[in-house]
Every structure is written in structure tokens, then in C-alpha cells.
């Protein structure tokens, strides 16, 4: 229930395997193949970035949330509502801009920071332009649609709580904590919240933030993550094995700041010790390392897609969506 993920509607009704999710989406597309052909849209992953992402391609939902100074947790809730909604309804049957604004309006109520419907509508219009319907009744009607498709399961569990709980236990520095927090924000741009429990995502975020910092001279995220994943896999298959060292080379780091200036240790060795201790702790706590590896890869490939998106992607995506909404008359 509300405090307990294990008996929550999220676990019982809104957690699915990757394969199941792919099948659901395939079936949604198959419902109206003509529309799918007539209105080419970005891939799910690209759309997801367009709707949700924080940086690379300043996204729609986040932009609206920022504009309204929405708390991150409420934003994450809205993002998950959007994602759940589109496992039930073909995107080409909807006005995604209206759906995003509606999910935010609903999330703000559920996260106890409500905003008046008129404010949400007018902010959404300034953000999304006139593709967003001007009348609050449209948003209110869409709210019925969203709640109905979500089966009224509106209480969601986010990884932030696990992160807060583990921060003292794992001796995370404030920098670790804020990096982990960012990685969790980024996980909302992926399908992970539909596939994995929130604590797994939190553990992945912590893992990434500590591991990536341990190799301040990394050139590519991918190499670091691969090394981290290898280290984790080694522990997963053989918990008593020594923790392999994480390669330390040259170049930039995860957060743009000097990663070697961490609070807990000055030396590289000390930092690698931290990685070792973290992995040991995970192993002792019987954390599902396979899941952590899978999540790590998902986050890393998100960053790759992000980086590879051309600057004009946002404009192109928006045009495609607006064209679809207008031509189909589904504003």
C-alpha cells in the first residue's frame, strides 16, 4: 500500500517485463496501422526524451514543470502517469500536449501541491503554444480519460525515498546524493519506472554516481559503465571474489565538475575502496545485480541517444506531433 511498495498497486498492476511492454506497444500500433503509416513519429525512446528529458532536448513536460516551479517528485509522478497512459492508448489517438498538461495537473493534486486548472492551462499554452486547447474543460475532460485508463491507481512510488534512506547508511556524500538524484530524474525519461521497482532504480543511481566518480579520468560514460557493470557482474556471480578495479584513464567526468574533489576521500585508491565497499554491501544485501546492470545499461544508452540527437530534433518532433494532432482533428 501507500507505504509499502510490495503490496502497492504499482507493483501489482503497473510493473511489467520489458517484453510485455514491447508487446503492449506493438499491439497499440497494430490497432490503427493506417494512422501509424500516415503520421510518422519519433521512436518511443525519442518521444520519451521529447516529453520528459531535462537537458539535451529541453523537453515539454519538464519545461512546463520548471515554468511552474513544480517539485521534482510531482514532476516524476506526472511523467509516470504519461508513460502509463501511453501503454493503454495509442499516441495517435491523443493530443500529447493536452495529456502532458493533464498528467501534471493531476500529479500536482496527488503530491499535495495543487494548482488551479486555469493556471495549468495558461502555463501549458505559453509552453506548448496553441496546440494546447485553451479551455479548462478540455483538460478536465482529459483528466477523466487519464484516471480511467490508469484505473485510478494514482499513488506512485519513486526512487527518491530509497535514496534518502540509504544516504546515511551508505555514507554517501552530498555530491553522491545529488548525482544520484539527477540519475533518478533521468530514469524518469526511460521505461525503467514501468519495469523495475523504485529501490532498484535508486540502487542503480547510487551505484552509477559512486562508480563514475571513482574514475575521474574517464573519456566515455560507456566505458566506465561497462567496467562498473563488469565489476558488479563479477560480484553477482561470485560474491566472494575480489572486486575488480575500475579503469582510471583520462578526460572528463560525469557531472562536469572535478570529480576527484569528493568529500569522503582524496585519493583514487580511497574512492575505489568505496566502490568496493558499495558492491560488497549490495552483494550482502542480496541486491538483484542483474537488474542493476540492466538499469545501468538503460541509463547509459539514454545518455547516448541524448548526445546523438541533432539540435533541431526538438523542432522536428514538435512539428510531427502538431501536424498529427491538427490533421487528425484531435486537439
Amino acid at each position: 500500500m501507500a507505504a509499502n511498495y510490495w503490496s502497492s498497486s504499482q507493483r501489482l498492476h503497473w510493473q511489467m517485463s520489458r517484453e510485455k511492454l514491447a508487446e503492449i506497444r506493438h499491439n497499440l500500433d497494430a490497432q490503427d496501422e493506417k494512422a501509424v503509416q500516415a503520421y510518422p513519429l519519433p521512436s518511443y525512446r525519442q518521444l520519451s526524451i521529447f516529453f520528459n528529458s531535462r537537458t539535451a532536448c529541453p523537453s515539454q513536460l519538464i519545461r512546463l514543470g520548471r515554468r511552474m516551479q513544480v517539485r521534482q517528485q510531482a514532476l516524476a509522478t506526472a511523467q509516470l502517469y504519461v508513460r502509463r497512459f501511453y501503454t493503454k492508448v495509442p499516441i495517435r489517438d491523443t493530443n500529447p500536449f493536452l495529456v502532458m498538461a493533464t498528467c501534471l495537473y493531476l500529479a500536482l493534486k496527488m503530491e499535495e501541491c495543487p494548482q488551479h486548472i486555469r493556471i495549468v492551462v495558461s502555463e501549458a499554452r505559453s509552453c506548448f503554444s496553441d496546440i494546447m486547447p485553451a479551455y479548462p474543460e478540455k483538460l478536465a475532460e482529459c483528466e477523466f480519460y487519464v484516471i480511467s485508463e490508469l484505473n485510478s491507481y494514482l499513488i506512485v512510488h519513486h526512487p527518491y525515498r530509497t535514496l534518502q534512506e540509504l544516504t546515511p547508511i551508505l555514507n554517501l556524500t552530498s555530491e553522491d546524493n545529488s548525482t544520484s538524484w539527477q540519475v533518478i530524474n533521468d530514469s524518469c525519461v526511460t521505461d525503467l519506472p514501468l519495469i523495475y521497482p523504485p529501490h532498484i532504480i535508486a540502487l542503480t543511481a547510487i551505484f552509477l554516481s559512486v562508480v563514475l566518480k571513482s574514475s575521474p579520468s574517464q573519456t566515455s560514460l560507456h566505458t566506465t559503465a561497462a567496467a562498473a557493470a563488469a565489476a558488479a557482474a563479477a560480484v553477482a556471480t561470485n560474491p566472494v571474489a575480489n572486486v575488480p578495479a575500475i579503469p582510471a584513464n583520462t578526460g572528463g567526468d560525469f557531472n562536469g565538475g572535478g570529480a576527484s574533489t569528493n568529500l569522503s576521500g582524496n585519493g583514487q585508491g580511497q574512492q575505489q575502496n568505496r566502490v568496493g565497499r558499495l558492491i560488497e554491501w549490495y552483494a550482502e544485501s542480496k541486491v538483484d545485480m542483474e537488474a542493476i546492470i540492466d538499469c545501468t545499461q538503460e541509463i547509459i544508452s539514454l545518455y547516448e541517444v541524448w548526445e546523438s540527437l541533432p539540435p533541431q530534433a526538438e523542432k522536428v518532433f514538435k512539428e510531427q506531433l502538431c501536424k498529427m494532432v491538427k490533421q487528425r482533428g484531435i486537439s
Partner: protein, 381 residues
């Protein structure tokens, strides 16, 4: 987008038997499933659209309706009313709950109106109280504050199972983004309102619910509310009046709340109000004896639930472990076990059973016109 259409239609799925009650939220109907082979009974709560006019428009669902929908969908416990489904149809929200034949208000009323004022049998009181605490404990373990526990909100099924209902004011209290005080300023029907709330405390804790349980326990024993204060009406919309008369009723029975009994009492914003009250000693024991009670464990439990200090007040879990429940006859999960009489069934009227009408309140309906105590109490309580 195309107009929203519900996949399920209330009237196709349920046959409305009659009208049960109405409140600020909307109206409740008794219904029977049309599913062949499973003609179960349900209570359908229809939320009133926010604005009432000739043409109903979508206006956005109220936050309390959102909370109630979300919480009821999430909760699952034998002592919390079970939500069967929610139907969103024609701009209205219908929450379909399991049907409960009785509620505590009706049961208390039955006994208090009885010419010989026969008390509620102790086995029934014990069973009801234990099940109520069991449900409250479940809510609290799940970070849910009910905030409006009162006899009218506690249902009892024909099989004697207690079901906590009406989570319209309930909230999650896990690290709230805003203080629980903001938003809805006045919570909990005044007779069941905890002293810390009366004194303006902004910290809502589970103890406000256990205070209310203490009041309900007392009422089951006395057949009348233990602290029946008169509500001071809000004069200005922005300020919450100090409920002097309610505080007075509590002090007359429990005595003056001193820092010895309640170390943090001075921290309450309205603490200064207490200086203008006459001093009283603790008269709870005398009250308990005066209503004819003799069980010392019952008194001890009542005093624990009505402890002034919210931090010392018994939690629901602690109360469940109290010796009161573990002495004497074995506790039954059927509140009516061994009873030789039967409570009257819930009143259901036929005059106004058209659920498809807009939720506007019209005059002359049963909810406005039931003469006598019950209607008045429903309004006040």
C-alpha cells in the same frame, strides 16, 4: 481528442435499489449488481459536480475526490471499506463500495432510543473497538491519516465486520510536501477533534485518529457523545475560530491540561486561551462510573486513548495489545456474535433513486427532512 466515454455504464451494470444519504461530497445509493449469478449489494457514492448548473461541465476533480479515489484503490484490509470499482461517466464520479448494512451511529441510536436504554453488550463493544483499532492501525502503518473518524463513518456489515469508511479527508503523511495543516484548515468533526488540534497545533499525527477512537469508545459505552461541544462558526473565511465550547467540554471531564500531564502543551499556538478557563481536576473516572461502567481495564484503555499528550496517547497498535481485549470472553471478529436481537436495516428510500440526475441538491428530499435527532446529528457530526 474525441469526447471521453466511459467503457462501463453505471446503470447497465447496477440496478439502483434506493437512496441512502447525502453530504457535502454528493450522494450515496444502494445498488445491486446486474451480473447474473452474482447479485451482490453495493453502496455507490456519486460525487457532486463542483459547480451546479443546468449544464454540467467538466471542471477538474476536487483534490479530496482524487485522494479518496487513489487511497481507496490502494488500500486493502478487512476493516477498511472495500472499493469495488470506480466509474467515471458523464462528468460524474461513481465509487462503488461493498455494502454495509449498519453504521455505529445507527447502532448507538438504536440503543439510546430504546425505552429501557439497554446498553450495547460488552462483547459487541469490544469486538467493534478491536476491529476499529485494527483498521486504524493498518491505515497508520501505511502512512494514512483518516482525519474524520466518527460513528457515522464506521460501518458494520450484517456479518458483524467493522469497516472504516469515508476516506474523503484522509491523507498520506509520509514527508508531505506541504504541512498537513495547509489546504484544508478544519479537519475532524468537532466532537471527535483532538485537543492539540483545538489548540491550533499544525502537526498532525496519528494521535488525532486515536483520540477520535477514544471518543467513539466512550460513546459506545455512554450512548451519547462524551464531548458534545457547540461549534463556533467561522466568521471570516481566513481565520479558524478557537473552539472554546468544545475545549470546555473536554476540560470538564479530563481536567485542565497542565504541563505536568502534557509537557508540550505550552507549544500550542492557542495555549494562552487556556488561562481563561476555570480549573478542573481529572473527572474521567467519575464519568466512567457515572455511566455505569465497572470494568477497570476498560477505563484504563479509555484513559490511554484520551491522553492529552499526543506523544503519550496510545497508538492503535498499543491499544490492540491492551489487556481489555485479552481478558474475559474470547474476542470475536463478529461484532454481533451471541446477540439475541437484530439491528434494523439501513434506511433506503425510493423517492429519490434516480442516480443519473445531476447531483444538485433539491429541497424536500429525505436527507434534508428526516425529522429528529439523527438528521440533526448527521449535520452536526
Amino acid at each position: 481528442m474525441p469526447p471521453y466515454r466511459s467503457k462501463v455504464r453505471v446503470l447497465e451494470k447496477y440496478q439502483i435499489i434506493g437512496f441512502i444519504s447525502s453530504g457535502t461530497y454528493g450522494r450515496v445509493y444502494k445498488a445491486r449488481s446486474r451480473t447474473p449469478g452474482n447479485k451482490k449489494e453495493f453502496a455507490i457514492k456519486k460525487f457532486k459536480p463542483d459547480k451546479e448548473g443546468e449544464v454540467i461541465q467538466y471542471t477538474g476533480i476536487s483534490q479530496s475526490a482524487c485522494r479518496e479515489m487513489a487511497l481507496c484503490s490502494e488500500l486493502s484490509h478487512e476493516n477498511v471499506i472495500h472499493l469495488h470499482e470506480i466509474i467515471l461517466e458523464d462528468k460524474c464520479i461513481y465509487m462503488v463500495f461493498e455494502y454495509a448494512e449498519h453504521d455505529l451511529l445507527q447502532i448507538i441510536h438504536y440503543h439510546s432510543q430504546n425505552p429501557d436504554r439497554r446498553p450495547i453488550p460488552e462483547t459487541t463493544v469490544k469486538s467493534v473497538l478491536w476491529q476499529l483499532l485494527n483498521g486504524v492501525s493498518y491505515l497508520h502503518q501505511n502512512w494514512v491519516l483518516h482525519r474524520d473518524l466518527k460513528p457515522a463513518n464506521i460501518m458494520v456489515t450484517a456479518a458483524g465486520e467493522v469497516k472504516i469508511g469515508d476516506l474523503g479527508l484522509a491523507r498520506l503523511f509520509y514527508k508531505p510536501i506541504q504541512s498537513l495543516y495547509t489546504g484544508d484548515k478544519v479537519v475532524v468533526t468537532i466532537w471527535y477533534r483532538a485537543p492539540e488540534l483545538l489548540l491550533g497545533s499544525k502537526h498532525y499525527t496519528t494521535a488525532i485518529d486515536t483520540w477520535a477512537v477514544g471518543c467513539i469508545f466512550a460513546e459506545l459505552l455512554a450512548l451519547r457523545p462524551i464531548f458534545k461541544g457547540e461549534e463556533a462558526k467561522m466568521e471570516k473565511k481566513s481565520t479558524v475560530p478557537f473552539q472554546r465550547n468544545q475545549m470546555q467540554k473536554i476540560i470538564e471531564i479530563l481536567g485542565t491540561p497542565t504541563p505536568e500531564r502534557w509537557p508540550d502543551v505550552r507549544q500550542n499556538p492557542e495555549y494562552h486561551q487556556l488561562s481563561s478557563f476555570k480549573q478542573y481536576g481529572d473527572n474521567l473516572k467519575a464519568w466512567y462510573q457515572q455511566i455505569g461502567q465497572t470494568n477497570p481495564q476498560g477505563y484504563d484503555l479509555l484513559a490511554g486513548l484520551l491522553n492529552y499528550d499526543p506523544t503519550q496517547r496510545l497508538s492503535a497498535q498499543q491499544a490492540l495489545e491492551h489487556p481489555y481485549f485479552h481478558e474475559g470472553a474470547k474476542l470475536s471478529l463478529n461484532a454481533f456474535e451471541g446477540q439475541t436481537f437484530e439491528y434494523p436495516h439501513r434506511r433506503v428510500t425510493q423517492e429519490d433513486n434516480d442516480i443519473s440526475l445531476p447531483g444538485t441538491k433539491r429541497s424536500g428530499l429525505p436527507d434534508d427532512s428526516i425529522a429528529g435527532n439523527r438528521a440533526k446529528r448527521l449535520k452536526e457530526g
